[in-house]
């Protein structure tokens, strides 16, 4: 079986998510006779899509993924999405309009969903009851009982002798949409002062990403109730930090987004040799025999030399890890899941007419290029802000009576003959510029065109938001007139107009 994971770009291959979730299963997959590939979505071309039995779309929340899923579905291969985060169930949150829209749009093309926790599986079950969903736990990198025992014993001995408890916190400190990371540390860090009750001095080391270190978050760190050291995160530093800490502090808040997170931080901590102190939402309950909820209990166990994770308990922990985080086992379960699925029959897509993307307020050049590489149309709307070489670019006259449509060669070639003959080549100012054509239609030629003219377009953002759907309908009406049928998806990288309202996302 050949499995291909689609990621947003090459740089993504170096992120913690990819490292933890995919790189750790690559070797066991290949050992079991399967092949595995990570492919950036921006490298795909319509004419040369690689052959693969299973396609997993990962963290590509844009219109390219929507088109790609359609294309793959039409070729009769298995298509699924690996749902890392829950951006879809917060129905009352207007920030995620575009992501909920993306979810709804891609759902019909999917054969399966993949996620990393039972909580996320349950969420998906509610949102898409018919979608087969498999939990693939984040696998551990290695589980070497001898190394772990060495770290545990050395840290325990040092802590007992010095009465200084080295505590680690590591991870992404921020999220563009949710308060978590360093906010959780700040909100729940008070618990660490209990170390003093037990006669120990806490000493916290924090590893996080530089982007997270804004004034607000630095202020949170500066006001922690325990002495704190700060460094920028790196994989090497994370390994060193965990290996030198008696325990890592893993606070989790109880918002939807956080409760469906994977167990990977606890798994990483335990398999790298530190105890886990959890606070807030009991995300790590599946590992509860090895997870503390109170530092005093942890330090009492330390004094009795009975820490939850110690040489004598490592065998049992190893078994638990194997059942929930062993890469080989996770691979076996995933392959078994894929084998049970039946791909749909290959069909032509689009059956008639054209397919493509209508760019909204906050689209991107990458989407524009990606759509064209997949052989489909990139279409502008009145809301589009970027100046791109669109395949179809309709522009309403000031009086709202005529529509001048600018076309690329691809847009013109797809026109029916009667319209094609009406197009005129646009004189080029730059000889290197691609060929462009124009076509003028009157309002009467497009009966479904909503009342809309350049002059009536209002100025305020809230008014523009109200007009948004009408603008998109106008483009859709134009496309229907031009190509009879069109399968279009909207491209929005953020909620339309939302981010322009001066409100932090």
């Amino acid at each position: 079986m050949k499995i291909t994971v689609i990621i947003p770009n090459q740089a993504w291959a170096n992120t913690a998510g990819v490292r933890i979730r995919y790189n750790r299963i690559a070797a066991p997959l290949e050992a079991a006779g399967h092949s595995f590939d990570l492919v950036p979505i921006d490298s795909l071309r319509a004419a040369s899509l690689p052959k693969s039995d299973v396609w997993i779309i990962s963290k590509c929340h844009d219109a390219r993924a929507l088109l790609l899923a359609q294309v793959l579905k039409s070729r009769g291969v298995l298509v699924g999405v690996d749902f890392f985060d829950d951006y879809y169930s917060q129905k009352n949150n207007s920030r995620f309009v575009h992501l909920r829209s993306w979810f709804r749009s891609i759902l019909p093309s999917l054969d399966f969903g993949l996620c990393s926790t039972p909580n996320m599986q349950a969420t998906l079950k509610q949102l898409a009851p018919a979608l087969p969903c498999h939990v693939m736990n984040d696998p551990f990198a290695q589980f070497d009982p001898e190394v772990i025992a060495g770290h545990v014993e050395r840290n325990a001995l040092r802590t007992r002798e010095t009465k200084i408890v080295d505590i680690g916190w590591f991870g992404i400190g921020d999220n563009p949409h949710f308060t978590l990371g360093l906010h959780d540390l700040s909100a729940m860090g008070q618990i660490l002062t209990r170390c003093r009750q037990a006669g120990y001095t806490p000493r916290l080391s924090v590893l996080t990403n530089q982007r997270a270190l804004t004034v607000e978050r630095l202020e949170l760190l500066s006001r922690l109730s325990v002495p704190m050291a700060l460094e920028e995160w790196s994989e090497e530093r994370e390994s060193a930090l965990i290996a030198q800490s008696l325990f890592c502090f893993l606070p989790v808040n109880a918002q939807h987004f956080s409760v469906v997170k994977s167990l990977n931080r606890a798994v990483t901590t335990l398999s790298s040799g530190a105890q886990v102190l959890s606070a807030g939402f009991p995300l790590y309950a599946p590992l509860k025999d090895y997870v503390y909820r109170n530092p005093i209990s942890l330090l009492r166990d330390l004094e009795k030399d009975k820490l939850k994770m110690r040489r004598e308990t490592l065998a049992a922990l190893g078994k638990l890890m194997q059942s929930s985080a062993d890469p080989k086992r996770e691979v076996e379960k995933a392959v078994s899941f894929f084998k049970k699925l039946k791909p749909r029959k290959a069909t032509k897509w689009p059956a008639r007419g054209v397919a493509g993307v209508i760019h909204g307020v906050r689209s991107s050049g990458d989407v524009h290029k990606g759509v064209q590489r997949l052989g489909h149309l990139s279409v502008s709307s009145p809301a589009s802000k970027a100046k791109l070489n669109y395949d179809v670019d309709p522009r309403m006259s000031k009086d709202g009576q005529t529509l001048d449509i600018h076309l690329s060669a691809r847009g013109r070639d797809a026109l029916p003959e009667d319209l094609k003959t009406r197009t005129q080549e646009v004189a080029k100012q730059d000889p290197k510029a691609p060929q462009r054509f124009s076509l003028r239609l009157t309002r009467k030629e497009i009966p479904a065109l909503p009342r809309l003219s350049a002059e009536t377009l209002p100025g305020s953002r809230l008014q523009r938001l109200e007009f948004y759907d009408r603008e998109m309908d106008m483009v859709q009406a134009v496309l229907s007139r031009l190509y009879t049928e069109s399968a279009m998806v909207r491209s929005e990288m953020a909620s339309p107009y939302w981010s322009d309202l001066g409100v932090a996302q």
Partner: protein
């Protein structure tokens, strides 16, 4: 962020007073406080300077001012471009963090951001930085632009006036208020040679201010009247001085042509001799208050239509059109007391603290409190009610020579290089008169009876007979130390104890004989006595100061930035390495570190000679190299010693230093001496040479790389030549005798100040009367009775 951001999280760090500089005006506001902190606290001083400040100060005027201040007080300098960088600098430190201008306004985001991220061990203090100041006392334009609810991230907010007159202070901030008076009163102007001639009145322009444009084009009106006034004065043969606002600089930035009878004065305010001017005129601005406090008649200009809000200046003499200006000038000449009386009443009503001595006391209390506060959150209520401030008396009268008595074990190299050499010009021109009394004199006169009472009496008489103004015990650890302290106490003169080694912990490695001598309990008693009873300890390095503090020494300690200086005695010579050497006295254990590598090196390079200069015997291992090795006998006179060293023409000098506690606090003397003698230096990394030999001014190595280092410089003669040249450039710039001379004089000054403060504190004079003020050489307002 690539740097490791963190310093010791739990380890005790010395407390610091950190001054945050962001706006150009901040320098003027903070300057007096910096000197006060240097004088009144034991904290390390640091400037934290925003990159925004550096951009604003395009001409570098204020950077030079900061450099001068930092040099005067030995402050560290750091620049930060973002709150993260400020956090990185402050992390692991504690103390008092002071900003001249901080608030929730975006214009202050650099300082407020730093306050927000500052570790909890800092007491954060901001200052009212102008008479009308956002969050304290606002005018109508302030309110329009910023509203009424300005808040501060500071824990303590220092205001000029009583709370009831600070009408713009938000209710949420009032509990933070600590009334100090204007910090500008901590400094009085010193009229230096750069001061332009004082002639007539001082007209101050603040045309950049929003106040002059918000309600009309008052700028043009002001300038029109100013030009007419100048013409008027010119007709009478009179002149006037124009002072641009330090931040705005409107007339300069806009190249406004000025009449011939206008003199420009663009010096920092603390260098302007305001009281010397006949009068002052300004639109509403803090400079009005500066001039009022300077005691000259002041006219507050308001636009003739009366649109501008000048309500906060009610009671002062208001002038508008040209006729008013003329009338004001006439009144200044005929009835100045009338104007001055108005000003007195204005100040009285304002409740502003205007007595410089009281301002000094209040700030001193705050800084001393900040020094004493422990780690953790701090509230203004934690500031102690009263902490007696130390007070500075005048330095020795300039027309009378300063009589300095040096007491030392002998005329030791330290005495020569730390005092006699840098002070030589002053000793020659008679402005400083000195005498040296030594323990060697005791031996000469009393031999084995040198510790006897009789010898002590003689010793004391020698000291008394000189009638010193100041006593310096230089590394003294011989007999009769108590008599030195007694003489100082009896004559009420300052006693400075100069130390350049940890004299309480001389290691055995330095040589058995020397170890036994210096570890004699009687000698240790002498050291302890002088550490305890001196008015000031003058330590050679910061690390030595820390060591003494760790040993429980509570006497004020000052640290010199420069220990040893030298001019260049021999220029670096290019070419192959022909001779290398080690110079040292009783430091055989240090030299032995490099010995194996040296043997190996000499074996490999038969053309290279090695010399050992000093009192260490030539090691047996090197004897086999025959006439390629040479022992140079020590020279006692320091100047002759340096000349001798230069004459040896070594291409490389080596500085191996064992990693001992004793060596950690030593000074970088060897690098200075080798560099002056035209030699490239190879030195042990992680000890005392890391700064001076950094950036290619020497080769810093670990102990297992001596051979490689010698090989490298031998194989790369151009590199050796360049290295030694760079070192000599650095020596010229940073280790001049002038710098050391200034430093020594500053130490004398500090000792006198400390002594007088202690006297007044003991006598209760502070509470008994209100002393008069006077100006010191560095422009600070100080007490005199």
């Amino acid at each position: 962020m690539t740097q490791h951001l963190f310093a010791s999280p739990t380890g005790a760090t010395p407390r610091e007073t950190v001054f945050l500089v962001n706006l150009l005006q901040d320098v003027n506001i903070l300057r007096g406080l910096v000197y006060l902190a240097a004088r009144e606290t034991e904290t390390d001083l640091r400037f934290l300077i925003s990159t925004a400040f550096l951009k604003r100060d395009a001409q570098g005027i204020w950077q030079r001012e900061i450099s001068q201040i930092a040099q005067d007080v030995g402050a560290h300098l750091n620049v930060f471009g973002s709150p993260l960088e400020a956090f990185a600098i402050l992390q692991g430190r504690s103390g008092t963090l002071i900003a001249a201008s901080e608030s929730s306004l975006s214009a202050h985001k650099e300082t407020s951001g730093t306050f927000r991220v500052a570790p909890p061990g800092f007491l954060r203090v901001t200052l009212q930085h102008g008479f009308e100041c956002v969050g304290f006392l606002q005018n109508r334009e302030h309110v329009r632009a910023h509203g009424r609810n300005i808040t501060f991230y500071a824990d303590v907010v220092c205001g000029w006036q009583a709370a009831n007159t600070l009408t713009a202070m938000a209710p949420s901030q009032r509990s933070k208020l600590y009334v100090t008076g204007p910090s500008a009163l901590l400094q009085a102007p010193r009229r230096g040679p750069e001061h332009p001639p004082v002639d007539g009145g001082m007209i101050c322009e603040n045309l950049h201010s929003v106040r002059l444009t918000a309600s009309g084009n008052h700028r043009a009106v002001f300038m029109d009247i100013f030009f007419e006034y100048c013409d008027d004065l010119a007709a009478q043969g009179k002149s006037v001085t124009l002072r641009p606002h330090p931040g705005g600089q409107y007339v300069l930035k806009n190249n406004v042509a000025l009449p011939d009878n206008v003199t420009l004065n663009n010096l920092p305010m603390y260098k302007v001799d305001l009281p010397a001017y006949a009068y002052g005129i300004s639109a509403p601005s803090s400079v009005v208050i500066d001039m009022v406090l300077a005691g000259i008649p002041v006219g507050v200009w308001r636009d003739p239509a009366g649109i501008m809000d000048a309500g906060n200046y009610d009671g002062l003499t208001e002038i508008a059109g040209l006729d008013d200006w003329r009338a004001f000038e006439r009144d200044v000449a005929l009835r100045p007391e009338m104007i001055l009386e108005r000003q007195r009443l204005f100040l009285e009503r304002s409740t502003m603290v205007t007595d410089p001595a009281e301002v000094y006391r209040r700030f001193a209390r705050l800084l001393v409190a900040g020094e004493r506060l422990g780690q953790g959150g701090v509230t203004p209520t934690a500031v102690p009610e009263v902490t007696p401030a130390k007070i500075s008396p005048p330095v020795a009268c300039p027309d009378k020579p300063l009589r300095v008595l040096f007491v030392a074990n002998g005329v030791i190299p330290t005495l020569q290089l730390s005092f006699l050499k840098p002070l030589a010009p002053l000793l020659q021109d008679g402005s400083v008169v000195h005498q040296i009394v030594t323990a060697d004199d005791l031996i000469e006169n009393f031999g084995a009876e040198r510790a006897s009472r009789e010898a002590g009496v003689w010793f004391e008489k020698q000291m008394q007979a000189f009638e010193p103004d100041l006593i310096i015990a230089c590394r003294y650890n011989s007999a009769h130390a108590a008599r030195i302290a007694k003489v100082a106490q009896a004559r009420d003169i300052p006693l400075i104890f100069h130390v350049d080694d940890d004299l309480l912990n001389i290691p055995r490695e330095i040589g058995e004989k020397k170890y036994l001598v210096h570890s004699n309990p009687k000698r240790l008693d002498s050291v302890n006595l002088l550490l305890k009873n001196s008015d000031l300890i003058y330590a050679s390095t910061d690390k030595l100061k820390r060591r003494l503090r760790n040993l429980g020494v509570r006497t004020p300690i000052t640290v010199g930035q420069v220990y040893c200086t030298s001019r260049i005695l021999r220029l670096v010579e290019p070419g192959p390495v022909r001779r290398i050497g080690y110079m040292g006295f009783d430091h055989a254990h240090d030299f032995e570190i490099a010995l194996p590598a040296l043997e190996q090196y000499l074996e490999k390079h038969p053309d290279v000679e090695f010399e050992l200069f000093g009192s260490i015997p030539m090691p047996d291992q090197l004897l086999r190299f025959g006439d390629r090795i040479n022992l140079v006998e020590p020279v006692r006179d320091y100047a002759a010693f340096l000349q001798k060293l230069a004459s040896r023409k070594w291409d490389i000098g080596i500085c191996p230093l064992a990693h001992t506690a004793f060596n950690t606090v030593k000074a970088n003397t060897k690098w200075v001496e080798y560099t002056a003698a035209g030699m490239a230096t190879i030195a042990t990394r992680g000890m005392v040479y890391d700064d001076c030999a950094a950036d290619g001014r020497g080769l810093l190595i670990d102990h297992d790389h001596w051979f490689e280092a010698l090989e490298y410089l031998t194989d790369h003669p151009d590199e050796r030549y360049r290295m030694a040249q760079q070192a000599q450039t650095h020596l010229l710039l940073s280790y001049s005798e002038q710098q050391l001379r200034d430093q020594v004089l500053d130490v004398f000054q500090k000792a006198i100040v400390t002594k007088t403060a202690a006297q007044q504190s003991r006598s209760g004079a502070l509470a008994a009367h209100t002393p008069k003020t006077h100006i010191t050489t560095d422009g600070l307002i100080e007490w005199s009775n």
